[in-house]
């Protein structure tokens, strides 16, 4: 099956087109900060608790806060039910997500504390780790965690020899390469970067460029979501 026909992808998008994205800041009652995000068929909810005392004590860092992100997929979020609990893939994603977020959080302001970030994928359609980081970033800002920037993530890839933005299910499974990228949008510092597949260096340049373009668009949506929650202040 051709993944690209007449310049259009399986879902009708152009190669440089993003799936529709919807972001809501602060939907949860209990969490210190939260975000609900829909990205194509992905549905992700993120919640932040903290900063709070880091426990058990042995995980405390006397110089800064520990950032503990947990990425998890709900059993019903995928076609073949997933057994509950973290698998190796989730654990890896949790680790690189924590590391990406840690970069922008002013962790030195809270020694011996910890910040818990919970990312729950409720409905999955490829690109969940990017959706997760994007949602977590909004939840962190919503929770009042001091940060240098609001991280954003987006993936690009290669499908049928063509570099495309924001892979969807079939493209992810049958494509030639997948490149998720997370950045701190102000300086475009790379916070997360993974790749699997096969690309020439120039294809990589093209894909990275496309992913960054996607990140810039999504970054605007994050900002709008945060301001929207408090927009009535401006109605003065």
């Amino acid at each position: 099956m051709d993944l690209i026909k007449d310049g259009k992808r399986l879902d009708g998008r152009a190669p440089d087109e993003l799936r529709p994205i919807k972001i809501e800041a602060g939907p949860l009652y209990r969490a210190d900060g939260s975000c609900y995000l829909e990205w194509g068929g992905n549905k992700v909810v993120a919640a932040v608790y903290g900063p709070k005392e880091a426990l058990p004590r042995h995980i405390q860092d006397s110089t800064k806060a520990v950032v503990n992100a947990r990425y998890n997929m709900a059993s019903f979020s995928v076609e073949d039910r997933k057994r509950p609990g973290p698998d190796r893939r989730s654990q890896e994603i949790s680790k690189i997500t924590s590391e990406a977020l840690e970069n922008v959080i002013l962790t030195e302001m809270f020694p011996r504390a910890m910040i818990d970030v919970c990312i729950e994928v409720l409905d999955a359609e490829a690109g969940t780790r990017c959706a997760g980081i994007t949602a977590a970033a909004v939840a962190l800002a919503d929770a009042g965690i001091p940060m240098r920037d609001i991280p954003v993530a987006c993936a690009a890839g290669k499908v049928d020899g063509v570099v495309v933005l924001d892979l969807v299910g079939e493209e992810d499974k049958k494509g030639d390469a997948d490149l998720p990228v997370a950045i701190a949008p102000r300086n475009e510092d790379i916070l997360l970067l993974q790749m699997d597949g096969h690309m020439t260096p120039s294809e990589f340049d093209e894909a990275l460029d496309l992913a960054l373009k996607g990140c810039r668009t999504v970054s605007k949506l994050q900002k709008e979501a945060l301001l929207k929650k408090y927009k009535t202040f401006e109605e003065e």
């Binding site: 900060g33 903290g50 005392e53 006397s62 929770a143 009042g144 920037d149 945060l226 408090y230 009535t232």
Partner: protein, 222 residues
């Protein structure tokens, strides 16, 4: 500088245009916001007043704490910050013998205290030496987000005065978002409701009028 909402990473100004205040960070010559909040300039400092976030203690704050543990010469107190605070026997208005701490304050007791000292490692010391400090003996404690405390107090205390007059309750507001209320049951219930409204609509204008109307309608239906 107008009062507008900023997010982490928003450029606020240059270091030659103002001094770096709370809720900001510096990169080179630029001052940026580190928080989701309202930017304001005061006495040459550029500050961001956060719209959310846990309690960030400041020396001198009057707070309401819950005793977590009594040790031989001190108590550990939860003040709603990311760290428990220590209350040493030297800092209470009573004469406490060694090991007798739990006779005066035990786990679960609620107290009014001041933030005395915060060191670089964020170890917090509190004190009950000031006149208004005491053990909470009656009434109830309402918890709101610390970032909303200024709204409950209001400009020059205008909101808290309105709440006191409108309900007849006694109110003590801790900077850490905990509010101690004493009064008749139905007045307390009205006050709690009013405080919850303020918390929810803290960022909106015309709040004082709305609360005033709410309190009037409640007292008329009583």
């Amino acid at each position: 500088m107008e009062r507008k909402i900023v997010i982490p990473g928003t450029l606020l100004g240059k270091t030659d245009g103002g001094k770096q205040g709370r809720g900001t960070f510096r990169e080179g010559d630029n001052i940026y916001s580190s928080r989701l909040g309202i930017v304001e300039e005061r006495s040459g400092y550029i500050n961001v007043i956060p719209l959310s976030g846990v309690y960030d203690p400041v020396v001198g704050d009057a707070i309401i704490g819950v005793v977590e543990e009594a040790s031989k010469m001190s108590w550990m107190v939860d003040i709603g910050a990311p760290y428990p605070a220590m209350l040493r026997v030297e800092e209470v208005p009573w004469r406490v013998e060694f090991g007798e701490t739990s006779r005066f304050l035990k786990t679960g007791d609620v107290i009014v205290a001041n933030v005395l000292f915060i060191n670089e490692a964020k170890n917090i010391d509190i004190s009950m030496r000031d006149k208004h400090c005491r053990k909470v003996d009656e009434g109830i404690i309402v918890e709101i987000q610390p970032s909303k405390v200024p709204r409950v107090i209001g400009k020059s205390g205008s909101m808290v005065s309105l709440l006191r007059e409108g309900t007849g309750c006694w109110i003590f507001i801790g900077q850490n978002g905990r509010i101690w209320i004493k009064g008749k049951d139905n007045q307390v219930a009205t006050l709690v409701e009013a405080i919850k409204i303020i918390e929810k609509e803290a960022h909106r204008s015309g709040l004082t009028d709305r609360i005033s109307k709410f309190l009037k309608s409640k007292s008329e239906s009583d």
